[in-house]
Amino acid sequence: MNFLVNYFSGLGKSTLNRVNGVGAASIMLYGALFAFPQWKNIRLTISQIYIVGVQSLLIVMVSGLFIGMVMALQGYTILVNYGAEGSLGPMVALSILRELGPVVTALLFAGRAGSALTAEIGLMKATEQLSSLEMMAIDPLRRVVSPRFWAGIISLPMLTLIFSAIGILGGHLVGVDWLGVDAGSYWSIMQATVEWDKDVVNGIIKSAVFALVIVWIALYKGYSCIPTSEGISQATTQTVVYSSLAILGLDFILTALMFGI
């Protein structure tokens, strides 16, 4: 009997904790989203775009280049069997614009920027910097969380666009310059197939959704972490794991909504 009571109280406790967590995360999201239109904070946002966006540029560009190159190489070896190597351009462009661009950039972003955000906010909490801000009547949501939030949402779609463009150029490098696919057909069949609203804009929408989820998870995990060194390391790990899983799951849902029948 006692065992049953213990079991149910444990279940109830963990449910309540989770609901509490979702509620706190939603309140934080609301606070961060609606704290943006303040021009005096624009400098804070710009410096966060530098940290979150510009510093992720190198890894995103290098991965974009290599993913485009390997797509062209793999696609060529398959397509050349059917004499269809002219379709290399649309294959590289569509797979990068629709899937690989948004997803790979978001995964890199979660690892590169999301973990850093969690660790930074977590350490601020552990060293009681957030409490000190509140003591000085400065809202940490407005001063600390919101600029990072908006910096992430602005940066990731731009990083995705850069990734896609460089990936397609990388495909051109391998497909046309190395393997000898005709440059005219690489570009012209690509142009005939790729659509602005269907492929490019949907990719940007995807990456904006991913950005929201990554920054939300990262900031909430940092904001709510246990303020010890162990707690910060756990929160950082959780950020990367949860946001990667969320990206892959959401990608399927968004793809089904955008391209499904």
Binding site: I49, Y50, G53, L97, A165, I168, Q191, E195, W196
Partner: protein, 174 residues
């Protein structure tokens, strides 16, 4: 000094993103029928549309002039009706005696609608010149394909099974 450097680098980042967008918009994306240009709708009924899908292209001699907007079944006649959107660039260009056929690009390629322009009777030409029938609001008398018009001369998609069946039937009867 550091903020200035930061701002410069962020500015370069934004410029790079804009350059990437421009590359995608100008080199990668289909410009001819971007979907934003003005179109007019033409209907056609087929016996069988095969593998035709919405957004399949409408071509005249290989040039894309429009796209399939919608495919649905006629409620009482039970035949597929295809709605085509043709760019207004080609308004008053194709005679309403034009025929539509469902073709396949290559052996395994996607299906598209081929538009074969028809002809215009000489007396209709005179009507266009004198009565300006194509410049009034009611376009019923206009001998060109116009908004909402239905094309009657259509050729259905080639169904491989039917073709094989016909050959077998023919051989069996010999």
């Amino acid at each position: 000094m550091t903020t200035r450097k930061t701002e410069t680098l962020v500015g370069l980042f934004v410029a790079l993103a804009i350059a990437a967008t421009m590359l995608l918009a100008l080199r990668v994306v289909n410009q001819g029928m971007a979907g934003n240009s003005e179109t007019f709708t033409v209907k056609a009924r087929f016996d069988n549309i095969g593998g035709l899908k919405p957004r399949s292209s409408v071509k005249v001699g290989g040039v894309v002039v429009g796209r399939v907007e919608r495919i649905y079944l006629h409620k009482t006649d039970l035949v597929p009706i295809v709605e085509l959107q043709i760019s207004t660039e080609y308004a008053n260009t194709f005679p309403d005696t034009s025929s539509l056929s469902i073709l396949t690009s290559g052996l395994l390629g996607e299906q598209f609608i081929g538009l074969l322009p028809g002809f215009i009777f000489p007396e209709d030409l005179a009507r266009i010149e004198e009565d300006k029938v194509c410049e009034t609001t009611s376009l019923n008398n206009c001998p060109y394909l116009t908004e909402g018009e239905e094309v009657f001369d259509t050729k259905s998609a080639l169904i491989l099974e039917d073709l094989i069946g016909q050959i077998l039937f023919k051989q069996g009867s010999e």
